[in-house]
Symmetry: C2
Subunit: 614 residues, 2 copies
């Protein structure tokens, strides 16, 4: 039977051949995660995804969440799926066993999450946020806070959220007005109204724990005066049992383009002056601390973009192989053929394939960086890897989700008119994924983050470290004859991207700062394209070696022959083709984008507000 959600062969390739996760077993922390165990984990995750989560994807979309009599309910089937998900202990896969996690490498956990999220991103969003909120407790909580909350959150007994946005404080978090007043017992009374809270209220669990950004009375304006509080829906008694309702009132849920299975709530805190929170971390350090969750959330959103892309690709590919329509261009008098034979369909499938594969490698690679930090004793290595993750964050969040819209849109297009109907899942994936470009910092914010913060992070060393990985892949690829041309093209992009980065960085610090930031998003695109090409060339380099072994040489005809009969040859040659397609079809366009950037001018800045018309 055709695969759905993800291509298992490719998942395995990235895990074992590209990221070499087995090497992690050398460290005691990951000693038990040998290939057999990892295989089992991925297979179990896939089973759960396909059998329990995927059938609820369409139901979740059609039924949606309900807000009745002040209560929010999730689509009915979600309760059973949630129970199974919890029983499988999937929520804190990559966390330390001492805090209730499964202790597996993050890289491996991402393979599981890919299946779950590709099957049902609305459902998984509840879990992703619970984990992120739990992480805040783990990082900044007092022993008491950990004791009361952490185990219940990491096990999914209770859910978590993140309460940042207010109606007048969206991208501008520093403008928030939710306030906190210290009580005599050290707790805080919280008052305010938050919007766009994913999973802000629902009936999957008995309690929901809200990390809340608020301003303590008298604190400075802007982000410097923001503190982080832990605010449960129901108060928690000293023995961990549930106490009174904590005056966190859901006032409505949003009607949205997609992710209907996830409740997007407006919450009023302390409307009756009875909302009590405890400080998480120190006063006025809330924004900095919240970034621990925001960064995790940004990687989660990148994962969402990727997972929906791979699901869309699998659907489109299966459909293209089955749907018969029109004659082949090379045999116009023959029988009608499956549409995978038509060049424009193939072009779109190749776009979907190469982006999806590049995304998978990037996501797992980022996971591997986390794992390496965890097992490293070398402070410099840890700092370098942390910096690398920071550089990659806006690319993972911003670039992947931009491209996810393109990939899912091709996913719709390949179905022809059927793509616009609810008969097939393609259109839901397209709708669902539109949110990824918006939440956890719009992609415009991600672009500003890359240019304004990450380019100069650690005096530019982190960006250089990022570049050094790409250079290494280019150099390795050059050693393989059939890849040297591709390596040269990527190198040209690499060189010019460095030029553009220097130019933009300099301009961002000058009086022409607006011109620099008008080019921030194009620069994010370029950085993302380069990152995809890096990942695909890396894959191709590994694949060429394997293919040479299988076919005896890298002679084109020999490979072609082997591909017909040998599954691995077919897979590896597909890797060469992905790199070839991306580097020859997309990178020339990337070079054009760099040319536009290095002009360093933008009429978008120069135009008068009035000249926009209207």
């Amino acid at each position: 039977m055709a695969q759905v959600i993800s291509d298992r062969r490719d998942v395995d390739f990235v895990l074992f051949e590209q990221m070499e996760v087995e090497k992690l077993t050398k460290h005691e922390k990951f000693a038990e995660f040998n290939k057999k165990t990892v295989d089992l984990i991925v297979s179990e995750a896939r089973n759960l995804a396909v059998k329990e989560l995927l059938p609820l994807q369409e139901i979740g979309d059609k039924e949606g969440c309900k807000f009745e009599n002040g209560k929010v309910s999730v689509p009915k089937g979600f309760h059973k799926a949630y129970k199974i998900y919890r029983e499988g202990e999937w929520l804190a896969m990559a966390d330390d066993p001492e805090v209730g996690g499964q202790g597996m490498p993050k890289t491996v956990s991402l393979a599981a999450s890919e299946y779950f999220t590709g099957a049902n991103c609305a459902f998984m969003l509840y879990n992703g946020l619970t984990h992120g909120a739990g992480k805040l407790v783990e990082e900044f909580g007092t022993e008491k806070q950990k004791e009361l909350f952490l185990g219940k959150m990491y096990s999914g007994e209770w859910s978590g959220t993140m309460l940042l946005t207010e109606s007048e404080a969206g991208s501008d978090v520093g403008a928030l007005t939710t306030s906190a007043k210290k009580n005599d017992d050290g707790t805080y009374s919280i008052t305010g109204a938050k919007i766009f809270i994913s999973g802000g209220d629902h009936d999957l669990v008995k309690n929901i724990i809200h990390p809340v950004l608020a301003r303590v009375e008298g604190a400075p304006e802007g982000t410097r005066g923001i503190s982080l509080f832990l605010v449960p829906k129901y108060r928690v008694n000293d023995d961990g049992s549930l106490g009174e309702f904590n005056d966190v009132v859901c006032t409505g849920i949003e009607e949205k383009t997609g992710i209907h299975g996830n409740s997007t709530c407006s919450l009023t805190l302390g409307g009756k002056n009875e909302c009590i929170g405890t400080l998480l971390g120190k006063e006025n350090e809330g924004m900095r601390n919240m970034f621990v969750m925001m960064n995790e959330a940004r990687h989660l959103v990148g994962l969402q973009g990727f997972s929906v892309s791979t699901a869309a690709y699998m659907h489109a590919l299966n459909y293209a192989r089955e749907r018969v329509q029109s004659k082949s261009l090379t045999d116009p008098r023959g029988e009608s053929v499956a549409i995978i034979k038509h060049p424009d369909v193939r072009r779109q499938l190749m776009l979907m394939k190469s982006f999806t594969e590049g995304m998978r490698s990037l996501i797992y690679f980022t996971g591997l960086c986390y794992d390496k930090i965890k097992i490293s004793d070398d402070d410099q290595e840890k700092a370098e890897l942390s910096g690398l993750i920071e550089v990659l964050t806006p690319i993972v969040k911003g670039y992947i989700t931009d491209k996810a819209l393109e990939v899912t849109s091709h996913g719709v297009q390949i179905y022809g008119g059927y793509g616009f109907t609810k008969d097939y899942p393609a259109e839901q994936l397209f709708r669902d994924c539109r949110i990824f470009m918006l939440y956890e910092g719009t992609n415009g914010i991600q672009a500003m983050d890359l240019l304004g913060r990450k380019l100069g992070l650690n005096k530019g060393e982190s960006f250089k470290f990022f570049l050094s990985h790409i250079k290494k892949t280019i150099d390795e690829a050059k050693e393989t004859n059939i890849l040297s041309g591709l390596a040269d093209t990527l190198e040209a992009v690499y060189d010019k991207t460095i030029e553009a980065a220097l130019l933009l960085g300099k301009t961002a610090g000058s009086k022409n700062v607006e011109h620099a930031f008008a080019l921030a998003h194009p620069f994010l695109e370029v950085s993302g394209d380069m990152t995809m090409a890096w990942m695909l060339l890396w894959r191709a380099t590994i694949s060429a070696k394997k293919l040479e072994k299988i076919a005896g040489s890298l002679d084109a005809e020999k490979i072609k022959e082997k591909v017909k009969s040998n599954k691995n040859a077919s897979y590896y040659d597909g890797q060469l083709k992905s790199a070839d397609f991306f580097i020859n079809s997309i990178l020339p366009v990337t070079l054009g984008k760099i040319d536009a950037i290095t002009k360093l001018k933008s009429a978008a800045v120069d135009i008068a507000d009035s000249s926009f018309g209207g």
Copy 2:
């Protein structure tokens, strides 16, 4: 008050300053359409659009069409709007008075249609198809068919549709199986099942007239054996009164991503063997004849893409001017500012503005070509203009609708998280416009049309004629100092596009035909980018002259000063900025696309089917 749907100043610019529609009054056919009359028409259309159609946009989306007890009903408010629309005699604005039209220039009618369609594209689709079906009757109908149907269709008393698609014959129309059997009285008994019929059944009117593609028994296979029939929902008596039900049964309506206000129907014809049609045109010439309607429909879809884009732009622009969020980059300690001050928002607004303006010019220009054909006595001129329209058709349909998705997506993005909610119209426009890339020939089909048919049409003379218009604009722009740089860039694209066209045309005729067609869509993109730049440079050339008059010179500082106080100066400078932005930000990317094309290779063709994975 802020404008909605369209920027009237820009509509007027294209009508009077760029297309110079007043010149058409020299011909007796259009003598009465002087500036005053045209102004009145556009104002009336705008009023109707804003007051009657726009308020039904969201209602139509939420309420949708219903299929109950075998009957299809449109959203309730549509009936009143339809009555008003009919009373205004808007359906056949540009058709000859002798067949029931208003006889206005098509160029002018497009300005009215832009407002209507931008206000409510689901509603307008009923009318667009009625007109197209009417056009078939006008072109190919017998006197009797015209007498019975045409007046009632052009007046909107009855609706029209187009019945091509079947479940196994989508893009491959030639595979259809609906059959026609000739009766003794010269009529035909029709049997078959059609799907995806926009407005296929509904309760706006008393009768619906279906042009149906079917195969007469014994006719050749493929498109050569297809005939066109006129099949009413209710038979029509000799005196024009309604007869019996004609066995055209709606079996269901589609659930879709968008355009919920338009019923997309499955129809069974002759299920009880009682469906009677009359031949429209000759037997086996149905496909060729249907192209009259298909071409009109393709231009209609282009208009839809453009209209939804301009509506999205106006919404985003108004929101960006009102929504206050974050400090300015150049004044980080000042007050928070409207988001139009932020460079990345401006970049997105400029993308929306320049694409929308380019689309408007292209759409009106195509209208002008039709008008010129109508009043010309010169056969060569007529043939040239017809060829030009044919070349432009896939660009209007394919390129504009591709870009409409981008424009409406930016329209969502500018709203931040609100963009994903149904609180604002942005998300509906984004959903609605996804169909435009699919129906009336997917954009992949459009790309094949451009490369496979239009490039070589009339031995390439039509494509050359298209190019000659661009060259003329380039040459004129060169004469204006401040535009010569932009003209040079467009010329570089122009030269390289010609190279690419020759190369692709040659390859399409070789054994590497698949490689050529794998590049058909990129070539459509390139041709479209060039066309947009042509339109914007043309606009800029006119605007520079006007600006020079207003400001006394084209000195940058003088212009800047004038823009502050003079509305026209502000508008014209906005035109210079659109051209500047598009040519400096987009065309470098276009050059990159051309580079990728001229490599003439695509791994998408070379890859083995199995190597796609799955």
